[in-house]
Symmetry: D2
Amino acid sequence: MIKVGIVGSTGYTGAELVRLLTRHPHVELVGLTSRSYVGEHYWRVYPHLKNYTDLQCEELDLPRLVDRADVLFTALPHGHSMDVAREVLSRGKKLVDLGADFRFRDQAVYESWYRVPHTAAELLPRAVYGLPEINREALRGADLVANPGCYPTASILGLAPLLAKGLIDPGEIVIDAKSGVSGAGRGFSLKTHFAETNENFQAYNVGVHRHTPEIEEQLGRLAGRDLTVAFTPHLVPMVRGILATIYTRPAVLPDRDELYELYADYYREEPFVRVLPPGMLPQTKAVAGTNHCDLAVVPDPRTGRVIVLSAIDNLMKGASGQAVQNLNLIFGLDETTGLVFPGLYP
Amino acid sequence: MIKVGIVGSTGYTGAELVRLLTRHPHVELVGLTSRSYVGEHYWRVYPHLKNYTDLQCEELDLPRLVDRADVLFTALPHGHSMDVAREVLSRGKKLVDLGADFRFRDQAVYESWYRVPHTAAELLPRAVYGLPEINREALRGADLVANPGCYPTASILGLAPLLAKGLIDPGEIVIDAKSGVSGAGRGFSLKTHFAETNENFQAYNVGVHRHTPEIEEQLGRLAGRDLTVAFTPHLVPMVRGILATIYTRPAVLPDRDELYELYADYYREEPFVRVLPPGMLPQTKAVAGTNHCDLAVVPDPRTGRVIVLSAIDNLMKGASGQAVQNLNLIFGLDETTGLVFPGLYP
Amino acid sequence: MIKVGIVGSTGYTGAELVRLLTRHPHVELVGLTSRSYVGEHYWRVYPHLKNYTDLQCEELDLPRLVDRADVLFTALPHGHSMDVAREVLSRGKKLVDLGADFRFRDQAVYESWYRVPHTAAELLPRAVYGLPEINREALRGADLVANPGCYPTASILGLAPLLAKGLIDPGEIVIDAKSGVSGAGRGFSLKTHFAETNENFQAYNVGVHRHTPEIEEQLGRLAGRDLTVAFTPHLVPMVRGILATIYTRPAVLPDRDELYELYADYYREEPFVRVLPPGMLPQTKAVAGTNHCDLAVVPDPRTGRVIVLSAIDNLMKGASGQAVQNLNLIFGLDETTGLVFPGLYP
Amino acid sequence: MIKVGIVGSTGYTGAELVRLLTRHPHVELVGLTSRSYVGEHYWRVYPHLKNYTDLQCEELDLPRLVDRADVLFTALPHGHSMDVAREVLSRGKKLVDLGADFRFRDQAVYESWYRVPHTAAELLPRAVYGLPEINREALRGADLVANPGCYPTASILGLAPLLAKGLIDPGEIVIDAKSGVSGAGRGFSLKTHFAETNENFQAYNVGVHRHTPEIEEQLGRLAGRDLTVAFTPHLVPMVRGILATIYTRPAVLPDRDELYELYADYYREEPFVRVLPPGMLPQTKAVAGTNHCDLAVVPDPRTGRVIVLSAIDNLMKGASGQAVQNLNLIFGLDETTGLVFPGLYP
């Protein structure tokens, strides 16, 4: 059994890790840390987990936790995983960070967007960006995985085939993304307040969302050149799900069957990416609770554009499901272990 | 492998059966019938199931389906399972009916509430009411199971301990129940129309809902006498979940710890009933997608009442999850096979 | 023009007062106080009001505000209106308190349920309970109005005809009430957090909600004797609306037409109460944004009960709309001024 | 009093017209036609209107209705207003069509997108596109008004200042639009079925939505040249509201204050367009129930784009509110009559 500890376990990505890991056949949960609920049974904090774990929330005592665990997940605000990472790696254990601290090659990009100094920059070259569909080999046996952001996961999976094949102008990408409210976490704000958000729809952080440079770095790797993207996130009055609508400009416009084949080929071996045939469009409900990414590609001959639609569950493929997929790769398990189940529909 | 066919598979309870059975380790799905989608791949009708089943919807050809299957599930409007049942049983196969046709001992009660003649009344004595928590032994090896209604499941589990112990006046029960909209199925009506139902709350079928006599028959068995209940269903602007708030009048009012112990004892061996300790109340989200029933019991010393709160997922413990639990009992499997997983929260 | 100041204007009941009073033909808003937004334009706090008011939020300077105003509305947490009231009345101005501080005749009841000492108990006899349908004459010209709670408004209007006519047993009342989330205000908690509340339904404060004694005092007045009620509030995943489902036991059960006539007669002159004919049931959406209360009365001959359904908008007839109705009565205006408009449906 | 008849009054835009016109000071409703509810009191079809109208739904008898009315509103599926229009105009009365039949100058464009022949093409030159902010003078006294579509209203108001000033490349416009479910009307489909739509988000009609050519024709008029736009509509799990996120490419990128001033100047005299200052973004809730359009303009210096956000209530400024605004213009009333009230927030 792989012994797993979760640092910052009582946010939504932490709770989703617990949900997944309590039924993972090769994992034993050995510690759940929390600042707010120390001493409380985890199932009192998250009542759906009653009968599934008897662990109590504990204060973070990193050395003791690292001793007990083979791998830690950190589900912390940015800036808080750096020191944890150094300690974990120095003791020969492994870390999957669900935050942003190790997602960038370039320390300066991180620091300018996240407004904190990076105190473990020496680890950046060692970190592997944890999107298995584009980085699988590097993830096998990795000891420091930067789990991608939710918007980047949907966006990169939506664009990878077009960019990898060099079919579109990398400077002409518009990503209009919409997320359920759980993406904002369990912390309180007017944006997560029911009466403000229900029966409401709005954009936020227009032009300045921190997932922008992450998307650009990974798309740039696929395109083989630097690029910028126009990226606008929106808040949908639902709990789970992201849909990214992506506008691209190809040099030559393929027809819909060619586009479908291109995507179907590119993702043929991928267990979690489902390319929908022409006539079907992704919907977030079809991936709710699962690690799947559903994709459709539509040509728009009137404007000469290709429009890609990409749907994930922000807490699953966009966070904790992907983190478990990475855990499986790190430890040489079948990549789908503990993740093969359909969503909750309706 | 147990070979399973589903008659009427493209409603919501049918889809939920498919979701559960595609990952049940001892089941093979051999046929999915539909009136509306004959020839269509099932995953095109329910896109969350892409990659999980390649079956196509087929027209109902009962003899052929019975030949292929060990057991059928019928997820049909009332009145349509009677003839199916006769055919299935006559060929030595088994049936779990998710409809109302076999839920009543007394044919006259059925006919007066459902307004159709019962054409297979000779089978009524053979039917077992499929609520394992009160009927487990009869379900082992049964060949005709009447799967309970959603409201009755929540109501009966909420009241069983009090009635079985004779603590309350059986003539003084009020059940105020609230259901998510999926309980109304995939058929169209103003009550299931998004713009009418979202941001709305209302009662329906006040005093005349067809689950009333089902609740009364089963509670009467537990109480050892005939009884009536005031039962009012309501429509909640959410997809899944039932919460029943039940008002009872005890002869002597226990305190909250006594009530908790009574319920905890009664359900101690039950894998799917979770009695919450004093201070916690059920919420439908904690059981969403699962076969659990969450219960709390609260004394109200000011009025001398005991108030019970009972939460289930109407499509799971209220329908298809319970049907799979019954399948397991029928075939002598561990009752929880394919059903042990926590819900989707948030 | 009546000069109005609002103390605690940036909660939801405050915002609803501003919405109503900016288009009230005989009112001029002269001051909006706030603790959190001092100096901010009100429309930046509530963007729907851009173009409707240019007032800025101000710190509370009570003497100066009272000088400017003819009447104050207080929309404050309980315990905070007592001293305001004394100051306002001592200067010959009027007060409508949307909180609980003046809703009880008996200081001891208030103090035992609200857990604070009452520091202006000498004013309690002067306070008029602001439910015009049962208290109209006392409200004309009143100088201290205790605006009712939302649940009490729905409950009392639902029960008044039965109690006033002495038709039911006052000791056998069960009120099962369901409220939208805006009833919890703009303050943050897990219960108002979108991801916890959407797709969720739950009871709260079972047997101990503070509106219970308020309901009991007013129903007791109507019944002419002391009584207790079983009252259970629930949280509905919607923004606005309350539906109360009320179970009563009559000595003799009227039929549905008699019940309808009873209610239609009782409320015939009431501008805001709409008694629905047999066959129609209240829904919260039909009263959203309005000062209406929609009622239906249903006999349940099987159990000998009468079931009443009562729907209001908790921020309107349940709070600010009723407060404006009271304002109109206080100042001798037509009671419906500024309040005659249908709701937002769908 | 202006005598108004509504043809097709029991859809959502019809109901919204009734809501508005029952409190319009210069309008008398003289006839409400319906196919489904003939003989029924209108308030039984729409219960929020109880006490506001006693009219009963009537079958369409066009000559008799035209005799009674000064103006008709048609709220019909496309293809059904052509013959009505001919009859109305031939009798010297006026028509506001809320459908698409008269929105296009070019009959061929209409016929190729709507797939029906136009049987009243001779009236097309007489029809005035009813967006007062760009067409006010032509609307005064018009006798045939083509009320704009919901998406076109949000899109055109969002782009008019940039196009009118020639600041952007008209060939590089992307409109990503999101609508509440009421936009699909009261007709049934899986897309309007609560259990399918709640907790779900999806695009639909990608590249082929019929509002596309309408947007293009009007933007082309503003730009002074033909153009195409990439337009993608999405379905939001809420009842009311549209947010359009519009991506443009300017020749020279203004800064945010310049953009704000440009928009504020352009719309300075407009009663219903509210340009939000830098730092605020539109949200659909702030315009719910009102005739307002809220706009923000944001430069994205990293990509050289200007992003416009435009929010309306699809049933109000996107349909019936705008139709009443047009009625006021047609009859020489103050354009805002019956439309000046803030929205319902929260």
